[in-house]
Symmetry: C2
Subunit: 193 residues, 2 copies
DNA sequence: CCTTTGCAAGTTAACGATGACTAACGTACT
DNA sequence: AGTACGTTAGTCATCGTTAACTTGCAAAGG
């Protein structure tokens, strides 16, 4: 279980990454962000690896409920996809750190274990989408000539690209506003003709 | 214009990034990859920034013809999209560096100018796709109830996500084999109903 | 009730690696 | 003679990490 201090460090690290970029995510900077010395961090995390792992877990804990909610609707509908995208984009816009963490594989790529963790997280999200589309196809409102997995990849890919571009542009525009056009396009494409 | 030595350095840098990851892309490593001292690199590039910029340019020079070819077909067709994806994925598979460079924004994110360059590169590719879909819509074979821009984002996003996952998995599977399913799905979705 | 013990959590001050980059110098070819 | 291109040997900053010491508080023992 996480201690209060660990949580504080994780949140400081996320905030730091959001504002300064992932290159600034150093033990030194995290420490000074919460006003303690560098060595103090090591009282709470054995190594930077452990801190990064905890950050991944924490982000996943915030993100995954959204995917679960999408799936848990009694009656699967395109309406659910619409609100899902709107909520997700709002979340991403207000937590810039997500976009930096989840969309910058390189950071975690140095460490093979972290890379695996990130892949697991990603595949988890993706498989939620797959399940959603499977249910939607069964319900008859979604076209069935394309595999659910492909629909999920297309959806997730569109999300990621939109966020990446938004981020590269310096996060100046509104990300939330871009959810609706994408949702509408996907729904138009996926709806049974 | 690039000298022979500069080209050699760029290619060494790309190869290094492909095999060892972008974190290993240091002046030291690039230097020793071509068997010269660290300081020698600075005879050919003023700074690491300049080297990175040259790498971006070089990658773009290889990549952009593929997008141009897609666009330059006399008669735009889904067949062209199919071969474009197949060729692109083969290229990416055999030049792992692309996937690392073009899909890891963070590397270039430290430097505002490089970030801008990367965005330009990306928007350039994307707008080629947009033009392609515009022509395709005009030709009547592509559905017209969705904007060309949206189709381009969906296409490009699907490509990127597939490559990202492939890369996170350690590039073990065949990327080329994944082009056809995606192309088929997109074509089925985009074809006029 | 006071004292002692022990531990959690902080400090300062380093260590060794490694990063980008540079100054001074050598050499070979035009 | 000069220039293009290489070298060695550094500078300086910053990284993750650790050792040694200090402090505050809570439980245990007499």
């Amino acid at each position: 279980m996480l201690t209060q201090r660990q949580l504080e460090l994780i949140e400081a690290a996320i905030k730091l990454t959001a504002t300064e970029g992932i290159q600034k995510l150093t033990i030194r900077n995290v420490a000074s962000a919460i006003g303690v010395s560098e060595a103090a961090v090591y009282r709470h995390f054995e190594s930077k690896h452990e801190l990064l792992k905890a950050i991944l877990d924490h982000l996943n804990a915030i993100l995954s409920p959204h995917f679960t909610t999408l799936l848990n609707n009694e009656v699967p509908s395109f309406e659910a996809l619409h609100t899902f995208l709107a909520e997700l984009f709002t979340l991403l816009e207000h937590n810039t750190a997500f976009t930096l963490m989840l969309f910058a594989e390189e950071t975690f790529n140095v460490d093979p274990q972290l890379r695996g963790d990130l892949l697991t997280l990603m595949e988890g999200n993706l498989s939620h989408l797959v399940l959603f589309f499977q249910k939607l196809i069964e319900s008859g409102s979604c076209r069935s000539d394309i595999e659910a997995r492909q629909l999920a990849v297309i959806t997730f890919g569109s999300i990621r690209l939109t966020v990446s571009r938004w981020h590269l542009q310096g996060a100046q525009t509104s990300l939330t506003n871009q959810a609706a056009p994408i949702a509408n396009s996907l729904i138009t494409l996926f709806r049974v003709p």
